[in-house]
């Protein structure tokens, strides 16, 4: 069936068009069920990512990204870099320190290291997220599950995010501390870290992007996951153009908080300064 070049070509081409298992839908506008109120043509990313895998995409300012834990055992580890200046990236310390809040929820800014807000959490039906523990390591997953390499059945988040970074011309040193969604952690008064697990099937969280970003997502068990086996389930990523949402958020910046307001002003400032002075300002 594949003994000749033409037969091999026919064989390869006959495989396309399948829709089984986690996969991207390209173009995203072909996604069968867009979110309520979202025009299919506004979709720019539609993909399901199985447990133990990763994905990445460059998204524009004003994009709204929804992550959904379809079956209740997903864990989305997120890293963000500015697409136009990738040395500027998610900064976890500032993300918790500046808003005076360790736990992620609606209106929490994901701040970078230059006093700017890369994205804001704008919706959340999960409430089980974590900015403290970061992602898993090959050493940790090997101790836990017997292997943490990318080609294993229990890939570590850092291994996956490093691959995502490499595909954008970045490398291991660009994989800074990360946040994770769909597996909560709380700190006791004495600092002890306590896992609070997931919120069940169908929980989602939505981010609104303030600047063009490289978005990397690894779907792999949280480092404090209490299951003895690696059984991370599929997550869904949908992103769409939402400039009106960005404008609505801008109008609320001061109401969210004084630190948020100044981060927002810094972000608008750097965005406006780099716009062309003539021609298409859109």
């Amino acid at each position: 069936m594949t003994a000749t070049t033409t037969a091999a070509r026919d064989h390869a081409r006959s495989q396309a068009g399948q829709h089984d298992g986690p996969m991207p839908v390209v173009p995203a506008s072909a996604w069968p069920n867009p979110p309520a109120g979202v025009d299919a043509d506004a979709l720019v990313w539609a993909e399901t990512v199985p447990g133990g895998r990763y994905t990445s995409k460059v998204l524009a300012r004003g994009t709204r990204l929804r992550l959904t834990d379809l079956d209740g055992r997903g864990c989305a580890h997120l890293m963000l870099w500015r697409a136009d200046a990738p040395w500027e990236r998610l900064n976890i310390a500032d993300t918790v320190k500046v808003p005076w809040q360790a736990y992620l929820g609606v209106d929490h800014p994901l701040l970078d290291d230059q006093g700017r807000v890369l994205a804001t959490i704008v919706a959340d039906t999960s409430g089980r997220h974590d900015a403290l523990c970061g992602t898993t390591t090959a050493v940790g997953n090997t101790a836990r599950y017997g292997d943490g390499s990318v080609h294993s059945d229990s890939p570590a988040g850092r291994e996956l995010l490093t691959l995502a970074a490499l595909k954008h011309g970045l490398g291991p040193r660009d994989v800074a501390p990360t946040v994770s969604f769909f597996h909560g952690v709380r700190a006791d008064e004495d600092g002890t870290l306590v896992p609070t697990g997931n919120a069940g099937p169908g929980a989602s969280v939505e981010l609104l992007l303030h600047l063009p970003l490289i978005v990397a997502v690894a779907n792999t068990a949280h480092p404090l996951d209490e299951s003895p086996t690696f059984d991370t389930t599929t997550i869904e990523l949908l992103a769409w153009r939402a400039p009106a949402d960005l404008a609505a958020l801008a109008a609320r910046a001061a109401e969210i908080g004084p630190e948020y307001d100044r981060a927002h002003r810094n972000t608008e400032d750097v965005h406006a300064a780099a716009l062309p002075t003539e021609g298409n300002l859109a």
Binding site: W87, N91, I92, A93, D94, V96, K97, V98, W100, Q101, A102, Y103, L111, D113, Q114, G115, R116, L132, C133, G134, T135, T137, A138, V139, G140, R158, P172, R173, D174, V175, A176, P177, T178, R186, A187, E189, D190, G191, T192, L193, P223, L224, E259, R262, A263, N266
Partner: protein, 215 residues
């Protein structure tokens, strides 16, 4: 405010380095595996922002997240292991006269100061400036900076997640000691922050003493 007289190492050994870090300034040294670094909070409540890199391979670097996840606690004290991004040990805290050091507050920067205190603080010197300038001596750059330890800084987390830098638990002359598990580049910013209590609103000098166990 008075400094303790003749700051001494916290563990026995031969002193092979004994240096004062000026208020607001950077410092760095390579601590060889087995040697012990004592940090002395000479005047009390002085945040010592600290990063760790493999001396032979600076792609090995401190990870706050790997460190706190491994010990399942936010705070550092005696017995805490400073871990790299892969979870491997870099240094171990072998003695501590304070009992609680911060892992989540990170470093101050000119840029984050504008968020925290207003744009009038934009031109105040900050820890990230120290890290960049001192790190460049070793070929490190902005992409190599990650969340750091803040020795002598107190950052509680309330039950609702509210966190903040509050009055310190340290006092003049309090010390902690770190034993290197690998040859470790220790990169320090003696925090210049004047807008919160991390330095008692008055940045002061600290002492760095490296000792080698006697054979």
């Amino acid at each position: 405010m008075t400094a303790t007289t003749a700051p001494a190492p916290l563990v026995p050994g031969t002193v092979i380095l004994d240096e004062t870090v000026a208020p607001r300034g950077p410092w760095s040294a390579i601590v060889a595996a087995g040697d012990v670094l004592t940090i002395v909070d000479l005047y009390g409540n002085q945040a010592v922002d600290t990063l760790f890199y493999g001396a032979a391979d600076t792609t090995i670097r401190y990870s706050a997240q790997a460190t706190i996840t491994a010990q399942r606690s936010l705070f550092l004290t005696t017995g805490s292991v400073i871990r790299d991004q892969e979870g491997n040990p870099m240094m171990t805290i072998v003695a501590d006269e304070v009992g609680n050091h911060d892992t989540i507050g990170g470093a101050c920067s000119q840029e984050s100061n504008t968020l925290r205190y207003g744009h009038h603080t934009r031109h105040q010197h900050a820890c990230v400036e120290n890290f960049l300038a001192e790190g460049a001596k070793y070929g490190l750059g902005k992409r190599d900076l990650v969340g750091n330890v803040n020795f002598f800084m107190n950052v509680p987390v309330d039950p609702d997640g509210t966190l903040g830098i509050v009055d310190g638990l340290s006092a003049p002359g309090r010390r902690l000691a770190l034993r290197a598990e690998i040859d470790t580049l220790v990169l320090v910013s003696n925090c210049p922050q004047i807008n919160n209590p991390c330095n008692g609103f008055d940045p002061t000098a600290v002492q760095m003493i490296v000792t080698r166990p006697e054979a």
